[in-house]
């Protein structure tokens, strides 16, 4: 496998997993799952006021970490690499600077980082992370929608069965759940602000759904 470019020296020996920098040079434009919806254009041309605000955070680095939360060395290693500790309590999240971590399951976390940093963080994990774990780059498979506005909670109530009352769902809480007939990982980032991580192949469906369900409130697209 001598040809594997971008592979860190320690990688294959330490974890025996393949890692590659999947992002091409700056001359190649990436297309997020909602690229063709042209949010930038809609932000200019579309409605400027309404109860639902929507923005896509495209082309972030999405890393899925699977490891053992009771393995202190692993937990410490994650904190050392990201500068923020793994949220070990179910349905919580942690955030520092441009890095954020969502609890997904007792042995799974979703880490979002700036798109160009994914490979370097992956490499750091491969260099330093002890024990049995897996780290998977899933940046191409999902995208992030920021949902806010006075009627954001209503829209979520139409789309999911989760209890969004602040007493049950404080800022920072995160759930993976059904969103209409797709799924989403949803984190509350403010009283009326939410971050939805959705799957690429369902992105058009969710986009269509949000437009339909927002009709009575007014949908404002933000660039």
């Amino acid at each position: 496998m001598s040809e594997m470019n971008n592979m860190t020296a320690a990688e294959s020996a330490a974890t025996k997993a393949a890692v590659m920098n999947q992002v091409p040079g700056p001359d190649v434009e990436g297309q997020s799952p909602l690229h063709h919806a042209d949010f930038a254009g809609l932000a200019k041309r579309g409605m400027q006021e309404g109860g639902i605000h929507l923005r896509e955070l495209a082309l972030l680095g999405h890393l899925t970490l699977r490891c053992d939360s009771s393995n202190h060395e692993q937990v410490a290693c994650v904190a050392a690499i990201l500068g923020v500790s793994l949220p070990l309590t179910p349905l919580t999240s942690a955030e520092k600077g441009a890095y954020s971590i969502r609890w997904m399951s007792p042995d799974e976390w979703l880490i979002l980082v700036p798109g160009l940093e994914a490979f370097s963080i992956e490499s750091q994990f491969r260099d330093a992370m002890p024990g049995h774990y897996s780290l998977v780059n899933s940046s191409g498979g999902s995208t992030v929608l920021m949902l806010s506005g006075d009627n954001a909670v209503e829209l979520l109530k139409k789309s999911t069965t989760v209890d969004w009352h602040l007493s049950e769902f404080p800022v920072g809480k995160v759930v993976s759940t059904l969103f209409a007939k797709s799924t989403a990982t949803i984190r509350r980032t403010g009283d009326q602000c939410f971050e939805l991580v959705i799957r690429r192949s369902f992105a058009d469906y969710i986009w269509l759904w949000i437009q339909d369900a927002s009709l009575e409130y007014g949908l404002v697209i933000k660039a």
């Binding site: 349905l91 069965t161 759940t177």
Partner: protein, 106 residues
């Protein structure tokens, strides 16, 4: 519609997030080759199917994707307890138990 406590997420979620994988505690025979056709058939297909307390395997399919067990009354649909894979139920047929209106315990 069942309201199910996911022991991994530590909260109740709606049934549509879950998937029932059938009767719990059906261990795969350790040595399948030693099984007769009858024994293998029983393992594959024959089930308790009780009216009353039933121990079931569920997965939080749209949530954390983890499996767990629960004990449910198949007549009243009341969930009596939820417990982890590898654990044994504490509410079993014949055991003294109160019917409460409080649903599953965590």
């Amino acid at each position: 519609m069942l309201h199910i406590y996911c022991p991994h997420c530590a909260e109740y979620r709606e049934e549509e997030e879950f998937h029932c994988a059938g009767q719990a505690h059906i261990a795969r025979p350790l040595d399948p080759e030693a099984c007769s056709d009858e024994e293998w058939g029983e393992y594959l297909f024959f089930r308790k199917n009780p009216r009353g307390l039933h121990h079931e395997l569920w997965v939080h399919a749209a949530g954390c994707r983890k499996f767990f067990n629960l004990t449910r009354d198949t007549q009243s649909y009341e969930i009596k307890e939820v417990y982890m894979i590898g654990e044994q139920p504490s509410v079993v047929a014949g055991s003294v138990q109160q019917t409460t209106a409080s649903g599953a315990k965590s």
